[in-house]
Symmetry: C2
Subunit: 244 residues, 2 copies
């Protein structure tokens, strides 16, 4: 099997974050058009204006679980609606997109370790389909169900699929320094600690500091870039900030 690219489409990129369950149709269509004709990639999308508010409503997070099945169904259904929009946009450009539902596939053990069986996704990729997965709620031993972020899935997929590269398509054009300029390359966290905060800083919202730390831990080169740079990323991986 050719090696794959794991591409994250940020929730804020594909939705209007301040309007409840509203897709940014134009942006999504444009990204789908750019992806048309490309092969061997997995899409992970965030929640944006979907999912989050139901998770917040029911007090469910990465660490706080719920045993309320109605809450699980509500959070998951919201993410499935967004996933349906993403599949529709990709399908309209003949990208062979198919859904991969984290709630059905993934789970956590007592200590929070993620279980993500990959034989099915590998089969899906080998048959020429493009798996499209997303941040979701998943079951966890002794906690009921907790949240898995799109970023956590990106890392697990990049490692598990021995990916060739990772792209994070974000609302910003890259990791920014204190003048707002894109940092072209990051090799260690020390280089950006001044801009992103120290290793002790909390970053529970999945902000840039956590993304950079997680991507630095990967064996795979990763790029953080804005929507306009997706084409450049797909062409030769040179877009936004390269984390390697």
């Amino acid at each position: 099997m050719p090696r794959v690219i794991v591409l994250k489409l940020g929730g804020s990129v594909i939705t209007e974050k301040d309007r409840e369950e509203t897709v940014d149709e134009e942006r999504l269509a444009s990204l789908a058009e750019t992806l048309a004709g490309h092969e061997d990639f997995v899409v992970v999308h965030g929640a944006g204006s979907f999912g989050h508010r139901y998770a917040a409503k029911h007090g469910v997070s990465r660490t706080e679980g719920t045993h309320d099945a109605a809450a699980v169904r509500e959070i998951h259904a919201s993410m499935e609606r967004l996933n349906g929009h993403v599949l529709g946009a990709l399908g309209a450009e003949d990208v062979p997109a198919v859904p991969v539902d984290p709630f059905s596939l993934a789970y956590r053990s007592r200590d929070g370790t993620l279980g993500l069986p990959l034989d099915g996704i590998e089969t899906t990729l080998a048959e020429g389909f493009v798996p499209v997965t997303y941040g979701d709620v998943i079951t966890q031993r002794e906690k009921g169900a907790t949240i898995i972020s799109g970023d956590e899935l990106v890392v697990a997929l990049a490692e598990g699929l021995d990916a060739d590269g990772v792209g994070l398509c974000s609302t910003v054009p890259g990791v920014l320094d204190d003048t707002g300029a894109v940092i072209p390359r990051i090799g260690s966290y020390d280089e950006v600690e001044a801009y992103l905060g120290g290793s002790e800083s909390t970053d529970v919202t999945g902000g840039m500091a956590a993304k950079v730390r997680a991507l630095l831990n990967l064996d795979v080169p990763a790029s953080v870039f804005g929507p306009d740079a997706l084409e450049a990323f797909l062409a030769d991986g040179s877009a936004g900030t390269r984390i390697d």
Copy 2:
């Protein structure tokens, strides 16, 4: 973990089979009411008037695959709609039902062998949820995607979860003899060959002969019964035809 029951709700039981994508709301609500308060079971439902016609339209079956992602999305989305109705009916009775999407979880190897990772479903059950899964399309090496029937899932789940029992809630009150009477107990296929056909007879539609053969191969006792007998089955397993 307490041992579980695998309960199949036949597609013809919960839908109006001759009306496109029409749920038998009354029947489904009545079954959900009967299930209220019970624990430790997995629900598998068939397709009925959902799913099948899309599979037929695209020429996809248990053995004939497709590489058309749009076909996969169409078949799967139809089954997700039906699953949504089943989850809604169960949720209305406070059954802690959550979806398990076979397309995301299951796959087949080249020779058609089913891969069905069960750690996630075991976690879901251990946390008190009721997984609700269904016949669907799944990816298969070298064939793209093929169909998995609800009956195939029932067998795989019963074996994999070391289930305590299997119930097939069908439109008929059990396996019938040539006078239309329910056969109370079947211990070997020889006993019913006269009514169901010889071992050479084809049964591609997943009819009763295939069900009985598959259930006889299980180590777990199984019952085939009509919707009115669900309560009796849940009470002591004595309903319709017992296959053991």
